[in-house]
Symmetry: C2
Subunit: 230 residues, 2 copies
Amino acid sequence: MALEIQNTCLACKKSSDIFNVLSDSEIKEVDCHKASIHYKPGEIIFKQGAPSNFFVCVTSGLVKLYIEHQNSRNLIIGLIRPINYIFEPGPFVDQHHHVTAVACEETTACLIDAHIMKELISKNTEFANEFIRKISVQAVRLFDRISSCTQKHVYGRVADTLTYLYPGIYAENPFDLTLSRQDLADLSGMTKESIIRVLKKFKEEKIIKLEANHIEILDQEKLEVIAKKG
Amino acid sequence: MALEIQNTCLACKKSSDIFNVLSDSEIKEVDCHKASIHYKPGEIIFKQGAPSNFFVCVTSGLVKLYIEHQNSRNLIIGLIRPINYIFEPGPFVDQHHHVTAVACEETTACLIDAHIMKELISKNTEFANEFIRKISVQAVRLFDRISSCTQKHVYGRVADTLTYLYPGIYAENPFDLTLSRQDLADLSGMTKESIIRVLKKFKEEKIIKLEANHIEILDQEKLEVIAKKG
DNA sequence: TTATTTGATTGATTTAAATCAACGCGTACC
DNA sequence: GGTACGCGTTGATTTAAATCAATCAAATAA
């Protein structure tokens, strides 16, 4: 059991662009203060507004991060694939979560004590740099999301979503969608009825092939044009 | 002249929550690699897409940061008051600016060599921590912006904008707006016609007093309710 | 001075997307 | 077996906000 955990930690170190700058002793430190947990689809990993005293690293599955809004729709601000740490500004701001994280597939995630991560950031400058780089990349993506959701029409937004899903989230084409239509809507800042209509249109125009949850991108170029033009 | 510049640098150190963790020698290092520049209202400080090889610290005036979008409206993602460093993910991602920065009032800003800042982040862990904290706060604000612009109706968005302007940007109430109606629209993700109508409504409902660019918030509480309810 | 431009404002019209409503289908559950 | 429930889909209707168009006022230039 203990061996298996350590095994996982080493695997993470190798395939994570943030943990691979840590020394063996530092990795061990992380190992001692983490818990690896399994989540079923739909289960909440953490909830917006709740105290955040740990960092989460997704080690298998798929996680959606969304902003909840009273009496209104949710907005998915990102999907996390392994092996990736979930950037949450909370621990550095007010020790509360600012988004909700939910498993979309069978998922395992490691919860790491916040103070350990902060210690590593203070002690290991390379780690701190990687950390800043990582959250900067996230910020750029957030800019894109804002831009997309506020300026583009539904076709552009759905095109954005599809180009985000492939190849970023689903590596192969065609792929089997593990997200619901509602998730796609929350990801595109619109209603599920609207996204269904847009996907239907894309299907009619031979931009995608769509049968239930099996999607194939047929014309990536055209999608990118639509995404750009809005 | 040199004395005056050094004076400015010390002033910054004292009143900035990020530069005040630097040692005197580190501040001097910054001092040697910076240029203090004056901008007139409307002048561009840096432009989205352009190479970013310096960091900007606003030392007087008011700066708007916005995302440009082809054939579409701009979206102001934040306003910067002195003394504040402009967080730009660019230097840590692809060495390009991801937003455009424009002076809204007579403004002075210091341009600091990017490699100096990166060096400071690597050498001074307290500085790195402050840096991370700062960009985390920005990320939270971005979440709010996304939430506001995608989920709320115009009244809620304008209420959000007004509560952002006072007391965050304009410290006194009443205050003289140095932003145009178009700026307010870009800040709320809508058209200038719409924001004019909403402001008129707020005026009629005695929530604000408005004459040309002179604004007084009369009912902050009501504004916050509107902002929350959307 | 008049002419010109720029920003603010108001009203009329259009439109994109949400909402509302209904139905089909598969799965879970009495 | 049938009933209930959730998810996906489709069509009809509504609506919030954009667009379009015109006017006004102030600032700037000729």
